[in-house]
């Protein structure tokens, strides 16, 4: 069966204003709203559209993390994923280990595409998709804003610093999503009910041959430096005067 594997990361909701714990040991996540990483939602939406076009038959949503990630996988199933796998662990999973887990699953599930968000909005690493592509020995098309599948190749438009780049990759391949690839659908109530019956399997990383390793130890967390309070000017002339005093105009 032709399928797409989609990565779903549970992250602090993008509307939450993050605060660092007073002891610098991390950021406050207790009682904070959690959501699917917005880029992963776009990844899932793209997979669902490719399924609706008849290019694949199945969309598999995969998350890595604590048992709480089941919430985000249920949301993914409600959006339209056919089944889900939670690789359950309480360990901190660095991108390289996430990639090793996804690689093991790609070898098992042989998807046509693995679609991931271009970055997670918590650690902002932007690594996992590219690492998966390397370990899996397959092409990568990162920061995608348009995806077309033609037989055994994908033509992907990428948002790069210079503008829009188009590349062609042999399938299977890894795609990471940028903001403008699509607009994810809203979940409807009946779909939430239906999603409860869809399969959600739980696996241990060890079952995939992966033992998580801490390669980069987080030593401390700090709030960012605060900018000094600025001044308000009342009109354009005052603005120009202020800029001239700073030697900027």
């Amino acid at each position: 069966m032709k399928r797409i594997l989609v990565a779903i990361k549970r992250v602090v909701d993008y509307n939450v204003r993050i605060r660092v714990k007073p002891d610098g040991s991390g950021v406050i996540t207790d009682g904070v709203k959690m959501s699917i990483n917005p880029f992963d939602e776009i990844a899932l939406e793209e997979a669902l559209r490719l399924k609706e076009k008849g290019i694949v038959e199945e969309v598999l949503a995969v998350s890595i993390g604590t048992a709480d990630c089941q919430q985000q996988l249920r949301t993914a199933l409600a959006m339209g994923a056919d089944r889900a796998i939670l690789v359950q662990t309480d360990a901190v999973i660095e991108p390289l280990d996430a990639a090793r887990i996804f690689r093991a699953l790609c070898e098992r599930e042989t998807p046509l595409l693995a679609i991931l968000g271009k970055q997670a909005i918590d650690d902002d690493c932007s690594q996992t998709g590219q690492m998966l592509a390397a370990l899996w020995g397959r092409p990568q098309a990162t920061f995608a804003s348009k995806v077309e599948i033609n037989g055994d190749v994908a033509r992907v438009t990428r948002e790069v610093d210079a503008g829009l780049e188009t590349i062609e990759v042999d399938l299977p391949a890894v795609i990471t999503t940028d903001l403008r690839l699509n607009e994810p659908r809203y979940v409807k109530l009946p779909d939430i009910m239906k999603a409860k019956k869809k399969p959600l399997d739980t696996l241990d990383p060890g079952a995939l041959g992966v033992t998580p390793v801490e390669r980069l130890k987080p030593v401390k967390f700090e709030p960012p430096p605060v900018r000094a309070k600025g001044v308000m000017v009342k009109d354009t002339q005052e603005l120009i005067d202020a800029l001239r005093r700073k030697g900027l105009a």
Binding site: Y14, R17, I18, V20, E94, L96, K118, Q119, I121, D123, D124, C125, S126, Q127, T128, Q130, M131, A133, A134, R138, Q140, T142, F143, R158, E159, V160, A162, G163, E165, T166, I167, V169, A173, L179, R180, R215, L216, K217, P218, V219, K220, F221, E222, P223, P224, R227, G230, V231, M232, V233, K234, D235, T236, Q237, I240, A242, L243, K246, L248, A249
Partner: protein
Amino acid sequence: MNRILIVGEHDGSRLNPAIAKCVTCARGIPDAEITIAVFAADPTAVAADAATVAGVDRVVTVTHAIHSNALAAAIAPQLAELAAAYTHVFGPSTTFGKDLMPRVAALLDAPQVSDLMAVESATRFRRPIYASNAITTVAAAEGSKIIATVRIASFEAAGVSVAPAPIEAVTVAAEPATHTRFISVSSARSDRPDLQTAAKVVSGGRALASADNFGILFKLADKMGAAVGASRAAVDAGYAANEMQVGQTGKIISPDLYLAFGISGAIQHLTGIKDAKTIVAINKDPEAPIFEVADIGLVGDLFQIVPELDRLLG
């Protein structure tokens, strides 16, 4: 001795200015010996550029026809092979570096420090997380190879050296992957300064209300010798091109002057401008969050203020 390999991003003829900032970052590592690697179909001009960046000890070139366009899948196996002789492998936090470096890290089974913003030691670095709402310090194990993308807004460019570093052509055994093919790139090439390295940036938000209206910002920018940026809202609405987006998921910039017109200042946008030396905000809404970070604020209608600025700066 720490041996640092920096991948020399280029456009075929010139070294990307971000690389001189990566060199400054690398010079922060104690006892550093710095090499720039250039992968190109014809590396001559770019290598000559790289050799004059102050602090660079050596430039190595890998010539292959496939490198006429930069493809991560083609460069990664060759860069990973070269990396064997180095303790650190750095690339810029541009879309090129972000695409390439994790692929190299995975091939080397090494961790990557993304958006490295400060060097504390050869194995200890600071980087932003949560859209720069927190800064974390990370430490790699001694002896571990370290891959990083360098947050270019955090470093000044290294100067130009009068005595160019030696350039050496090297051969690598790893063949570039051919499963990825470049088709085309479309960009609004212009004579305006590059957004990521410009000293002055004029930027617009959704309040511009149309792509045509962005024209007044381009006009002002040209008078000021500034680059033009945009908020995500303006790009999503189709008023500005994607490569103009400034913010967490767009470009992170550090100009001397950032002029924000009709940008409310979502945290994701502020992430992209926090390193600007002077931020000027012009907005109709006195409660707009952009005023919290602005050094100079002006409440008013941009459609009146932009032409006034244009005229008075004349």
